[in-house]
Symmetry: C2
Amino acid sequence: MKTSRHFGLLLFPGVTQLDLTGPAEVFGSVPDAQLHLIWKDRVPVATGHGWRIEPTTTFADCPQLDVLCVPGGSGQIALMDDEETLDFLRRQAQGARYVTSVCTGSLVLAAAGLLRGYRAACHWMSRDQLALLGAIPDARRIVMDRNRITGGGVTAGIDFGLFLVALLCGEDVARGIALAIEYDPHPPFEAGVPEHAGEALVRRVEQDAERRQALRMAATLRAAKRLGL
Amino acid sequence: MKTSRHFGLLLFPGVTQLDLTGPAEVFGSVPDAQLHLIWKDRVPVATGHGWRIEPTTTFADCPQLDVLCVPGGSGQIALMDDEETLDFLRRQAQGARYVTSVCTGSLVLAAAGLLRGYRAACHWMSRDQLALLGAIPDARRIVMDRNRITGGGVTAGIDFGLFLVALLCGEDVARGIALAIEYDPHPPFEAGVPEHAGEALVRRVEQDAERRQALRMAATLRAAKRLGL
Protein backbone atom coordinates (compact mmCIF):
# COMPACT_ATOMS: atom_id res chain seq x y z
CA MET A 1 0.00 0.00 0.00
CA LYS A 2 1.25 3.41 -0.95
CA THR A 3 1.36 5.83 1.97
CA SER A 4 0.76 9.55 1.82
CA ARG A 5 3.48 12.09 1.39
CA HIS A 6 3.47 14.56 4.25
CA PHE A 7 4.11 18.18 3.34
CA GLY A 8 4.26 20.57 6.28
CA LEU A 9 4.39 24.36 6.31
CA LEU A 10 4.99 26.45 9.38
CA LEU A 11 1.99 28.76 9.95
CA PHE A 12 3.10 31.53 12.31
CA PRO A 13 1.78 34.97 13.30
CA GLY A 14 2.82 37.50 10.66
CA VAL A 15 3.61 34.94 7.94
CA THR A 16 3.38 36.43 4.46
CA GLN A 17 0.29 34.72 3.16
CA LEU A 18 1.54 34.21 -0.39
CA ASP A 19 4.84 32.73 0.87
CA LEU A 20 2.74 29.97 2.37
CA THR A 21 -0.06 29.61 -0.17
CA GLY A 22 2.15 29.47 -3.28
CA PRO A 23 3.86 26.21 -2.32
CA ALA A 24 0.85 24.92 -0.34
CA GLU A 25 -1.37 25.14 -3.42
CA VAL A 26 1.21 23.18 -5.41
CA PHE A 27 1.89 20.60 -2.67
CA GLY A 28 -1.82 20.15 -1.98
CA SER A 29 -2.35 19.26 -5.64
CA VAL A 30 -0.05 16.23 -5.44
CA PRO A 31 -2.36 13.18 -5.62
CA ASP A 32 -1.09 11.48 -2.45
CA ALA A 33 -0.31 14.65 -0.47
CA GLN A 34 -1.20 15.22 3.13
CA LEU A 35 -0.76 18.91 3.75
CA HIS A 36 -0.11 20.22 7.27
CA LEU A 37 -0.19 23.82 8.47
CA ILE A 38 1.75 23.64 11.69
CA TRP A 39 1.84 25.85 14.76
CA LYS A 40 2.08 25.56 18.53
CA ASP A 41 -1.67 25.20 18.97
CA ARG A 42 -4.79 25.11 16.79
CA VAL A 43 -5.93 28.68 17.50
CA PRO A 44 -6.33 30.66 14.24
CA VAL A 45 -3.15 32.58 13.38
CA ALA A 46 -3.15 36.17 12.10
CA THR A 47 -1.16 36.30 8.87
CA GLY A 48 0.72 39.28 7.40
CA HIS A 49 -2.27 41.30 6.20
CA GLY A 50 -4.27 40.40 9.29
CA TRP A 51 -6.62 37.65 8.20
CA ARG A 52 -6.58 34.42 10.15
CA ILE A 53 -5.92 30.82 9.17
CA GLU A 54 -6.42 27.75 11.33
CA PRO A 55 -3.42 25.46 11.84
CA THR A 56 -4.24 21.86 10.96
CA THR A 57 -1.78 20.35 13.44
CA THR A 58 0.63 21.28 16.23
CA PHE A 59 4.33 20.85 16.96
CA ALA A 60 3.36 18.03 19.31
CA ASP A 61 0.99 16.21 16.95
CA CYS A 62 2.70 16.71 13.59
CA PRO A 63 3.80 13.44 11.98
CA GLN A 64 7.30 13.09 10.56
CA LEU A 65 7.25 15.20 7.41
CA ASP A 66 8.65 14.28 4.03
CA VAL A 67 8.92 17.98 3.21
CA LEU A 68 9.40 20.61 5.91
CA CYS A 69 8.86 24.15 4.63
CA VAL A 70 9.29 27.47 6.45
CA PRO A 71 7.72 30.49 4.74
CA GLY A 72 8.80 34.06 5.53
CA GLY A 73 7.22 37.34 6.50
CA SER A 74 7.75 39.86 9.28
CA GLY A 75 6.66 37.29 11.87
CA GLN A 76 9.78 35.32 11.02
CA ILE A 77 11.81 37.78 13.11
CA ALA A 78 10.24 36.61 16.38
CA LEU A 79 10.75 32.96 15.42
CA MET A 80 14.51 33.43 15.33
CA ASP A 81 14.54 33.80 19.13
CA ASP A 82 11.91 31.15 19.72
CA GLU A 83 13.54 27.95 20.95
CA GLU A 84 10.28 25.99 20.84
CA THR A 85 10.01 26.64 17.09
CA LEU A 86 13.71 26.10 16.43
CA ASP A 87 13.61 22.80 18.34
CA PHE A 88 10.63 21.63 16.30
CA LEU A 89 12.48 22.43 13.07
CA ARG A 90 15.65 20.65 14.19
CA ARG A 91 13.65 17.58 15.25
CA GLN A 92 11.73 17.39 11.95
CA ALA A 93 14.84 18.13 9.88
CA GLN A 94 16.47 14.93 11.13
CA GLY A 95 13.89 12.74 9.40
CA ALA A 96 12.62 14.95 6.58
CA ARG A 97 13.58 14.11 3.04
CA TYR A 98 13.73 17.81 2.16
CA VAL A 99 14.26 20.77 4.50
CA THR A 100 13.01 23.85 2.71
CA SER A 101 11.99 27.49 2.94
CA VAL A 102 10.59 30.39 0.96
CA CYS A 103 11.61 34.03 1.32
CA THR A 104 12.94 35.01 4.77
CA GLY A 105 11.99 31.55 6.03
CA SER A 106 15.59 30.61 5.24
CA LEU A 107 16.75 32.90 8.06
CA VAL A 108 14.68 30.79 10.48
CA LEU A 109 16.20 27.55 9.18
CA ALA A 110 19.61 29.19 9.50
CA ALA A 111 18.86 30.38 13.05
CA ALA A 112 18.10 26.75 13.90
CA GLY A 113 21.57 25.89 12.61
CA LEU A 114 20.12 23.99 9.67
CA LEU A 115 21.88 25.89 6.89
CA ARG A 116 25.48 25.97 8.15
CA GLY A 117 27.66 25.40 5.13
CA TYR A 118 24.69 25.25 2.75
CA ARG A 119 24.00 27.54 -0.18
CA ALA A 120 20.60 29.17 0.27
CA ALA A 121 18.13 31.64 -1.25
CA CYS A 122 16.24 34.38 0.57
CA HIS A 123 14.23 37.52 -0.19
CA TRP A 124 16.64 39.89 -1.98
CA MET A 125 16.49 42.47 0.80
CA SER A 126 17.58 40.06 3.54
CA ARG A 127 19.75 37.66 1.60
CA ASP A 128 23.07 38.94 2.95
CA GLN A 129 22.01 38.14 6.52
CA LEU A 130 22.29 34.43 5.72
CA ALA A 131 26.07 34.73 5.76
CA LEU A 132 25.99 35.85 9.40
CA LEU A 133 24.33 32.50 10.20
CA GLY A 134 26.88 30.35 8.43
CA ALA A 135 24.97 29.86 5.16
CA ILE A 136 26.15 30.87 1.71
CA PRO A 137 23.76 33.44 0.18
CA ASP A 138 22.77 32.62 -3.39
CA ALA A 139 20.83 35.03 -5.61
CA ARG A 140 19.10 32.34 -7.64
CA ARG A 141 15.32 31.97 -7.32
CA ILE A 142 15.55 28.31 -6.34
CA VAL A 143 18.64 26.94 -4.63
CA MET A 144 19.23 23.25 -3.95
CA ASP A 145 22.19 22.11 -1.87
CA ARG A 146 21.99 18.45 -0.85
CA ASN A 147 18.52 18.13 0.76
CA ARG A 148 18.09 21.82 1.49
CA ILE A 149 15.90 23.58 -1.08
CA THR A 150 15.24 27.27 -0.60
CA GLY A 151 13.25 29.78 -2.63
CA GLY A 152 13.66 33.54 -3.05
CA GLY A 153 11.11 36.18 -2.05
CA VAL A 154 7.34 35.55 -1.78
CA THR A 155 6.26 34.59 -5.33
CA ALA A 156 9.36 32.41 -5.76
CA GLY A 157 7.40 29.89 -3.69
CA ILE A 158 5.40 28.83 -6.75
CA ASP A 159 8.53 28.13 -8.83
CA PHE A 160 10.06 26.42 -5.80
CA GLY A 161 6.95 24.29 -5.19
CA LEU A 162 6.83 23.03 -8.77
CA PHE A 163 10.57 22.31 -8.76
CA LEU A 164 10.24 20.31 -5.55
CA VAL A 165 7.22 18.32 -6.76
CA ALA A 166 9.08 17.47 -9.99
CA LEU A 167 11.93 16.17 -7.87
CA LEU A 168 9.70 14.13 -5.54
CA CYS A 169 7.00 12.90 -7.90
CA GLY A 170 8.42 13.29 -11.39
CA GLU A 171 8.17 16.08 -13.90
CA ASP A 172 4.90 14.81 -15.39
CA VAL A 173 3.05 15.28 -12.09
CA ALA A 174 4.54 18.76 -11.67
CA ARG A 175 3.68 19.74 -15.24
CA GLY A 176 0.09 18.63 -14.67
CA ILE A 177 -0.13 20.89 -11.61
CA ALA A 178 1.39 23.81 -13.56
CA LEU A 179 -1.32 23.35 -16.20
CA ALA A 180 -4.08 23.05 -13.59
CA ILE A 181 -2.98 26.31 -11.92
CA GLU A 182 -2.41 27.91 -15.35
CA TYR A 183 1.14 28.84 -14.45
CA ASP A 184 2.11 30.86 -17.48
CA PRO A 185 3.01 34.12 -15.72
CA HIS A 186 2.94 37.42 -17.59
CA PRO A 187 4.00 40.13 -15.16
CA PRO A 188 2.51 43.44 -16.33
CA PHE A 189 5.93 45.06 -15.82
CA GLU A 190 9.47 44.00 -15.06
CA ALA A 191 10.14 45.20 -11.55
CA GLY A 192 10.35 42.03 -9.50
CA VAL A 193 14.09 42.14 -8.80
CA PRO A 194 16.35 45.08 -7.96
CA GLU A 195 18.24 44.73 -11.26
CA HIS A 196 15.03 45.49 -13.19
CA ALA A 197 13.28 47.81 -10.77
CA GLY A 198 15.64 50.75 -11.00
CA GLU A 199 17.55 52.48 -8.23
CA ALA A 200 14.86 54.93 -7.14
CA LEU A 201 12.25 52.22 -6.64
CA VAL A 202 14.70 49.96 -4.81
CA ARG A 203 15.54 52.84 -2.46
CA ARG A 204 11.85 53.57 -1.77
CA VAL A 205 10.99 49.92 -1.05
CA GLU A 206 14.05 49.63 1.18
CA GLN A 207 13.09 52.79 3.04
CA ASP A 208 9.55 51.50 3.61
CA ALA A 209 11.10 48.37 5.15
CA GLU A 210 13.83 50.11 7.12
CA ARG A 211 12.47 49.56 10.61
CA ARG A 212 11.61 45.94 9.92
CA GLN A 213 15.02 45.29 8.43
CA ALA A 214 16.73 46.70 11.52
CA LEU A 215 14.71 44.36 13.76
CA ARG A 216 15.50 41.47 11.44
CA MET A 217 19.23 42.21 11.53
CA ALA A 218 19.17 42.41 15.33
CA ALA A 219 17.47 39.00 15.50
CA THR A 220 20.00 37.57 13.05
CA LEU A 221 22.88 38.85 15.17
CA ARG A 222 21.39 37.34 18.33
CA ALA A 223 20.90 34.02 16.54
CA ALA A 224 24.47 34.10 15.20
CA LYS A 225 25.76 34.61 18.72
CA ARG A 226 23.77 31.61 19.98
CA LEU A 227 25.21 29.53 17.15
CA GLY A 228 28.70 30.59 18.25
CA LEU A 229 29.35 32.45 14.98
CA MET B 1 -8.52 63.36 4.79
CA LYS B 2 -7.75 60.49 2.49
CA THR B 3 -10.05 57.54 3.02
CA SER B 4 -9.15 53.89 2.63
CA ARG B 5 -9.66 51.92 -0.52
CA HIS B 6 -11.84 48.89 0.13
CA PHE B 7 -10.82 45.68 -1.63
CA GLY B 8 -13.16 42.75 -1.07
CA LEU B 9 -12.71 39.12 -2.03
CA LEU B 10 -15.40 36.47 -1.73
CA LEU B 11 -14.23 33.71 0.63
CA PHE B 12 -16.43 30.66 0.01
CA PRO B 13 -16.23 26.92 0.81
CA GLY B 14 -14.01 25.23 -1.76
CA VAL B 15 -12.33 28.41 -3.01
CA THR B 16 -8.95 27.72 -4.60
CA GLN B 17 -6.65 29.24 -2.04
CA LEU B 18 -4.15 30.68 -4.50
CA ASP B 19 -6.95 32.30 -6.57
CA LEU B 20 -7.72 34.33 -3.46
CA THR B 21 -4.27 34.84 -1.96
CA GLY B 22 -2.54 35.99 -5.16
CA PRO B 23 -4.60 39.16 -5.55
CA ALA B 24 -5.17 39.53 -1.79
CA GLU B 25 -1.42 39.71 -1.16
CA VAL B 26 -1.10 42.39 -3.83
CA PHE B 27 -4.18 44.37 -2.72
CA GLY B 28 -3.18 44.14 0.95
CA SER B 29 0.16 45.74 0.10
CA VAL B 30 -1.46 48.95 -1.18
CA PRO B 31 -0.70 51.59 1.47
CA ASP B 32 -4.30 52.70 2.06
CA ALA B 33 -5.95 49.33 1.48
CA GLN B 34 -8.65 47.84 3.63
CA LEU B 35 -8.88 44.20 2.69
CA HIS B 36 -12.09 42.26 3.27
CA LEU B 37 -12.63 38.50 3.05
CA ILE B 38 -16.36 38.21 2.72
CA TRP B 39 -18.79 35.42 3.42
CA LYS B 40 -22.28 34.88 4.83
CA ASP B 41 -21.01 34.61 8.39
CA ARG B 42 -17.71 34.72 10.26
CA VAL B 43 -17.32 30.98 10.77
CA PRO B 44 -13.99 29.72 9.31
CA VAL B 45 -14.40 28.54 5.73
CA ALA B 46 -12.78 25.33 4.40
CA THR B 47 -10.81 26.23 1.26
CA GLY B 48 -9.95 23.95 -1.67
CA HIS B 49 -7.25 21.86 0.01
CA GLY B 50 -9.19 21.76 3.27
CA TRP B 51 -7.57 24.33 5.48
CA ARG B 52 -9.77 26.99 7.00
CA ILE B 53 -9.69 30.79 6.81
CA GLU B 54 -11.80 33.20 8.84
CA PRO B 55 -13.92 35.69 6.91
CA THR B 56 -13.27 39.26 8.08
CA THR B 57 -16.77 40.50 7.28
CA THR B 58 -20.19 39.31 6.11
CA PHE B 59 -22.56 40.09 3.24
CA ALA B 60 -24.58 42.16 5.71
CA ASP B 61 -21.68 44.11 7.22
CA CYS B 62 -19.43 44.63 4.21
CA PRO B 63 -18.96 48.29 3.30
CA GLN B 64 -19.33 49.42 -0.31
CA LEU B 65 -16.24 48.09 -2.04
CA ASP B 66 -14.03 49.93 -4.49
CA VAL B 67 -12.90 46.58 -5.88
CA LEU B 68 -15.13 43.50 -5.76
CA CYS B 69 -13.28 40.29 -6.62
CA VAL B 70 -14.61 36.74 -6.97
CA PRO B 71 -11.98 33.99 -6.98
CA GLY B 72 -12.67 30.53 -8.40
CA GLY B 73 -12.36 26.93 -7.34
CA SER B 74 -14.70 23.94 -7.21
CA GLY B 75 -16.86 25.70 -4.61
CA GLN B 76 -17.80 28.24 -7.27
CA ILE B 77 -20.19 25.67 -8.74
CA ALA B 78 -22.53 25.84 -5.74
CA LEU B 79 -22.43 29.65 -5.77
CA MET B 80 -23.97 29.74 -9.24
CA ASP B 81 -27.28 28.55 -7.76
CA ASP B 82 -26.98 30.60 -4.59
CA GLU B 83 -29.25 33.63 -4.80
CA GLU B 84 -27.95 35.10 -1.55
CA THR B 85 -24.43 35.28 -3.00
CA LEU B 86 -25.59 36.46 -6.43
CA ASP B 87 -27.69 39.20 -4.80
CA PHE B 88 -24.70 40.37 -2.77
CA LEU B 89 -22.58 40.57 -5.92
CA ARG B 90 -25.25 42.49 -7.86
CA ARG B 91 -25.70 44.94 -4.98
CA GLN B 92 -21.96 45.59 -4.59
CA ALA B 93 -21.43 45.78 -8.34
CA GLN B 94 -23.72 48.81 -8.57
CA GLY B 95 -21.33 50.95 -6.52
CA ALA B 96 -17.96 49.28 -7.07
CA ARG B 97 -15.38 50.99 -9.21
CA TYR B 98 -14.16 47.64 -10.53
CA VAL B 99 -16.06 44.34 -10.67
CA THR B 100 -13.49 41.60 -11.00
CA SER B 101 -12.72 37.90 -10.83
CA VAL B 102 -9.95 35.34 -11.05
CA CYS B 103 -10.23 31.89 -12.64
CA THR B 104 -13.73 30.36 -12.57
CA GLY B 105 -14.90 33.29 -10.45
CA SER B 106 -15.95 34.87 -13.74
CA LEU B 107 -18.64 32.19 -14.10
CA VAL B 108 -20.14 33.40 -10.80
CA LEU B 109 -20.13 37.02 -11.96
CA ALA B 110 -21.72 35.85 -15.20
CA ALA B 111 -24.35 33.80 -13.33
CA ALA B 112 -25.25 37.01 -11.49
CA GLY B 113 -25.81 38.61 -14.90
CA LEU B 114 -22.83 40.91 -14.42
CA LEU B 115 -20.89 39.92 -17.55
CA ARG B 116 -23.62 40.08 -20.22
CA GLY B 117 -22.03 41.61 -23.27
CA TYR B 118 -18.61 41.87 -21.60
CA ARG B 119 -15.40 40.20 -22.73
CA ALA B 120 -14.02 38.07 -19.89
CA ALA B 121 -11.23 35.68 -18.91
CA CYS B 122 -11.59 32.37 -17.09
CA HIS B 123 -9.59 29.22 -16.34
CA TRP B 124 -8.75 27.67 -19.74
CA MET B 125 -10.78 24.54 -19.02
CA SER B 126 -14.04 26.40 -18.31
CA ARG B 127 -13.64 29.46 -20.51
CA ASP B 128 -16.16 28.39 -23.16
CA GLN B 129 -18.92 28.21 -20.54
CA LEU B 130 -18.85 32.01 -20.30
CA ALA B 131 -20.56 32.23 -23.69
CA LEU B 132 -23.59 30.34 -22.35
CA LEU B 133 -24.01 33.15 -19.81
CA GLY B 134 -23.89 35.98 -22.31
CA ALA B 135 -20.22 36.92 -21.88
CA ILE B 136 -17.56 36.88 -24.59
CA PRO B 137 -14.78 34.40 -23.68
CA ASP B 138 -11.30 35.86 -24.11
CA ALA B 139 -8.14 33.75 -23.86
CA ARG B 140 -5.93 36.56 -22.57
CA ARG B 141 -4.54 36.31 -19.03
CA ILE B 142 -6.04 39.66 -18.01
CA VAL B 143 -9.12 41.04 -19.72
CA MET B 144 -10.51 44.53 -19.13
CA ASP B 145 -13.83 45.57 -20.61
CA ARG B 146 -15.15 48.85 -19.19
CA ASN B 147 -15.06 48.31 -15.41
CA ARG B 148 -14.99 44.53 -15.55
CA ILE B 149 -11.49 43.10 -15.06
CA THR B 150 -11.10 39.34 -15.12
CA GLY B 151 -8.07 37.10 -14.76
CA GLY B 152 -7.36 33.63 -16.13
CA GLY B 153 -6.72 30.51 -14.06
CA VAL B 154 -5.35 30.53 -10.49
CA THR B 155 -1.86 32.09 -10.79
CA ALA B 156 -3.19 34.72 -13.21
CA GLY B 157 -4.47 36.41 -10.06
CA ILE B 158 -1.03 37.83 -9.34
CA ASP B 159 -0.69 39.41 -12.79
CA PHE B 160 -4.29 40.60 -12.51
CA GLY B 161 -3.72 42.09 -9.05
CA LEU B 162 -0.68 44.08 -10.15
CA PHE B 163 -2.48 45.29 -13.27
CA LEU B 164 -5.44 46.48 -11.21
CA VAL B 165 -3.29 48.22 -8.60
CA ALA B 166 -1.40 50.03 -11.39
CA LEU B 167 -4.73 51.23 -12.74
CA LEU B 168 -6.07 52.36 -9.35
CA CYS B 169 -2.95 53.69 -7.67
CA GLY B 170 -0.46 54.29 -10.46
CA GLU B 171 2.25 52.13 -11.90
CA ASP B 172 4.87 53.23 -9.37
CA VAL B 173 2.86 51.78 -6.46
CA ALA B 174 2.30 48.53 -8.38
CA ARG B 175 5.98 48.25 -9.33
CA GLY B 176 6.94 48.71 -5.67
CA ILE B 177 4.66 45.82 -4.72
CA ALA B 178 6.10 43.65 -7.52
CA LEU B 179 9.57 44.30 -6.12
CA ALA B 180 8.48 43.62 -2.54
CA ILE B 181 6.96 40.27 -3.53
CA GLU B 182 9.93 39.55 -5.82
CA TYR B 183 7.68 38.95 -8.78
CA ASP B 184 10.18 37.80 -11.35
CA PRO B 185 8.70 34.39 -12.14
CA HIS B 186 10.84 31.63 -13.59
CA PRO B 187 8.59 28.60 -14.12
CA PRO B 188 10.76 25.47 -14.01
CA PHE B 189 8.99 24.26 -17.18
CA GLU B 190 6.57 25.60 -19.75
CA ALA B 191 3.33 23.76 -19.16
CA GLY B 192 0.98 26.42 -17.79
CA VAL B 193 -1.30 26.66 -20.81
CA PRO B 194 -2.64 23.94 -23.11
CA GLU B 195 -0.63 25.27 -26.09
CA HIS B 196 2.62 24.53 -24.21
CA ALA B 197 1.59 21.50 -22.19
CA GLY B 198 1.15 19.05 -25.04
CA GLU B 199 -1.92 17.02 -25.95
CA ALA B 200 -1.32 14.04 -23.66
CA LEU B 201 -0.97 16.20 -20.56
CA VAL B 202 -4.00 18.30 -21.45
CA ARG B 203 -6.03 15.12 -21.86
CA ARG B 204 -4.89 13.76 -18.48
CA VAL B 205 -5.66 16.99 -16.61
CA GLU B 206 -9.05 17.20 -18.30
CA GLN B 207 -9.80 13.58 -17.40
CA ASP B 208 -8.89 14.23 -13.76
CA ALA B 209 -11.38 17.11 -13.77
CA GLU B 210 -14.11 15.37 -15.77
CA ARG B 211 -16.66 14.93 -12.99
CA ARG B 212 -16.17 18.48 -11.70
CA GLN B 213 -16.48 19.91 -15.20
CA ALA B 214 -19.79 18.08 -15.73
CA LEU B 215 -21.17 19.57 -12.49
CA ARG B 216 -19.89 23.00 -13.52
CA MET B 217 -21.54 22.77 -16.93
CA ALA B 218 -24.84 21.72 -15.34
CA ALA B 219 -24.69 24.74 -13.01
CA THR B 220 -23.88 27.02 -15.93
CA LEU B 221 -26.86 25.71 -17.88
CA ARG B 222 -29.19 26.26 -14.90
CA ALA B 223 -27.85 29.80 -14.48
CA ALA B 224 -28.25 30.51 -18.20
CA LYS B 225 -31.86 29.42 -17.99
CA ARG B 226 -32.51 31.73 -15.04
CA LEU B 227 -30.96 34.58 -17.02
CA GLY B 228 -33.34 33.80 -19.89
CA LEU B 229 -30.49 32.83 -22.23
